[in-house]
Amino acid sequence: MIPELGHVALIVAFGLAIGLTLVPFWGSMRANVSAMNLAPSLAVGVLVFTAIAFGLLAISFLRDDFSVAVVAANSNSLLPPLFKFSALWGNHEGSLLLWVLILSGWMTAVAFLSRGLPLVMMARVLSVMGLIAVGFLAFSLLTSNPFERLLPNMPADGSDLNPLLQDPGLIIHPPLLYMGYVGLSVPFAFAIAALIGGRLDASWARWSRPWTNVAWGFLTLGIMLGSWWAYYELGWGGWWFWDPVENASFMPWLMGTALVHSLAVTEKRGVFRSWTVLLAIFAFSLSLLGTFLVRSGVLTSVHAFAADPERGLFILVFLALVVGGSLLLYALRAPTVASRVEYAVISRESLLMVNNLVFTVAATIVLLGTLFPLVMDALSLGKYSVGPPYFNAVFVPLMALLMPFMTLGPVSRWRQDSPRRWLHELLTPAIAVVVLAPVLSVMLFSFNLWVALAVLLAGWVSLGVLRDLWHRLRVGNSAGLQWQRLTPSFLGMTLAHIGFAAVVLGAVVVTQHSEERDLRMAEGDSAELGGYRFEMTRISQQPGPNYIADQASFLVTEGETVIALLTPEKRRYLASGQVMTEAAIDAGMLRDIYIALGEPVGEGAWAVRLQYKPMVRWLWVGAFLIGLGALVTALDRRYRVQSVARQVTDAANQGLEFAG
């Protein structure tokens, strides 16, 4: 009964989404206020019914209702309850439902947090988001119904959730990631609404910015979590593989970074308008493309859901309609929104233009690399593979190219600036960094050119940020520090840029200086690595809730001090029989110690991998700072306070909307 109710709820949500797509939009074209005013209620309706469907599916999972196909395929009676719940989105059908739920959440948020947004714009924005919801709900109902039943041959127990997914990471990573993916539909919707209305001024940018920053922030956090999860879950200490599915989330992030910066320029200076609109379209298109790549079977990936070309076709058609339609709209309406170029070659605008260029090129490169095997196959030129060696070789230099500009940007003036002034402002930090970088890198580790470069660039960015911070606090003649000048917007930027520098530094250091040994160890054996001594003290069997583990205990010491007692395991899950390594990690800001068990190699000995990974946490802490920074910017006063004057202007503008 419950699955059927869930199915019905989903159908109702679909109907409401269709209403949301058509009615307010029609209202916006006909100046029908009551039709437009329906938009928020319809959005709430979609949210409520999708949430009901979601909740009912969750209940099916928690109650071990194996007559429901996805429950039977992804759950098991022995599975801990928390994983039973999160197994809901550990599969294709359920994750689609999560997608739509989060989309309807964003729609509702836009509907109710956009006081002062002209009604016409809000109606169009929600209609566009409604269209996206229609597409995904149709996809779900027609090809991937989560409520499909296995009656009358219901299995006695489920196939169990893949052990790799039985981890807290599954609980947070997909929802956060989807918050980002799906959230990029908001700036997309704003862009479309603006193109339709033919109006794209600074206030449009002001409306879009907080939504974009928050979505992008969540996407950053989602990707960061995915990387961290892979690191501790997979057992070989890797944190990024340039796998097609990872790239599918990284491309929107790269484009989103360009968008975040471009929106800033459009809001403050009114320029870059058509660029920003295009970026908004690209960013969400890449999100949709990612959905296609992950679920269609077109590319091979360890991450992909069970692939089905039929489903792939549906998504492709939807993709073609949405993206094709929006690019067509752009092509037709771009002149109405394009801005005049009013800035010099040396100016903050042009620096941010360079930023746009680099990130767009980066996203395109990742796209090209990911799709290259497909292109070659389609042209019958053979089967190729493109992996980390390629991506690292082309991506890293691009980012390195960007970093010098990251300090120039905040220092530079709008409209017109001069290199001489930059020199004057930044000479001291530049010299400081050039001198300190090699020294620091030698002090911390043995000299390595790449690390020295990374320290140089990261130091340059950080010093620039700090210098900027200092100047803000000490402007004017006042003796004290002007804390109020540290707006959330500025703080967010500071955090994000420092976070970026940390990520770069962590990535380079861990790549260049990590050490690894694969050895055969038995009880009582010991080994040395990275200045630490590892002694295997004991091997035992430990039962778990739904597995049995072979556990090895390691005493890790540095000289005389005991650093940690680590217990890596080799688990055999009872329901599926799958075997999994559970690595043991001693985490620290300056280094991680990582131990993983391999196979038993006879006579009570095991193959063991010991790893020493310096500064690997900086990757995720840095990424966290980036995400946090993005979220912080949305708290800025100017997005919340609506002066009376503004409200009057906006109301007047509403009247003018219908003319255009």
Binding site: L278, I281, F282, S285, F292, S296, G297, V298, L299, T300, P309, G312, L313, L316, L319, A320, V323, G324, L327, L328, Y330, A331, L332, A334, P335, A338, L371, P373, L374, V375, D377, A378, K383
Partner: protein, 194 residues
């Protein structure tokens, strides 16, 4: 001057749409491709030289012993469950007069002989490749696989996975028109090579 600039803008604006159009075509094409399908790298080349023992007789054999052409070379092993599934079809093929050479891949010879004794032996000859070195030279990456050698001794096709009637009539009829029943099969349009 203004007019020229507007028309420049006109053309440029459609570039993203065009690019996306190309991308869609590519992705659509991709839906009918199989990213996991790996054609044999040795396609078009002669079957690699080898010196191995024959399974049943224990004699030393080489490429020259694969004298019946065109022929199939079937990579199999007793530890491979799918090989057992395809075995009856191989017997049918052998009955229809299609020469099949076996490559016993990374297996135990005694077990292999017992297996064949129990289930039937469709193979004209069986190459014992205990370490998998011939398999490596061929580009084998798992069992079962079936190669086709043409009249000149070149590898012209590889099928990865279980061989059965549909696959055979779809992909192998170019070289074996008589099919598994010994009956002339209708020629398929454009044999799907890999």
């Amino acid at each position: 001057m203004r007019r020229i600039r507007v028309s420049n803008l006109q053309a440029r604006r459609f570039i993203p749409l065009l690019g996306f159009g190309l991308l869609s075509v590519l992705l659509f094409r991709g839906l009918s491709l199989d990213p996991t399908a790996l054609p044999a790298a040795r396609l078009g080349q002669s079957f690699p030289e080898f010196t191995k023992l024959e399974l049943q007789s224990g004699e030393a054999i080489g490429v020259a012993n694969l004298s019946q052409r065109p022929a199939l070379v079937n990579v199999w092993a007793t530890w491979c469950y799918s090989c057992r599934v395809e075995h009856p079809f191989l017997l049918e093929l052998a009955e229809a007069g299609i020469p099949i050479y076996g490559l016993n891949y990374k297996d135990d010879a005694a077990k292999a002989r017992a297996w064949l004794g129990q289930l039937g032996d469709p193979y004209a000859l069986n190459i014992v490749d205990a370490e998998g070195s011939l398999g490596l030279d061929l580009g084998v990456y798992g069992a079962p696989e079936t190669y086709v050698i043409d009249q000149e001794g070149r590898i012209v096709h590889r099928h990865v996975g279980i061989l059965h009637a549909e696959v055979f009539s779809a992909d192998f009829s170019a070289w074996f028109p008589q099919g598994p029943l010994g009956v002339e099969m209708p020629a398929r349009q454009g044999s799907v090579a890999e």
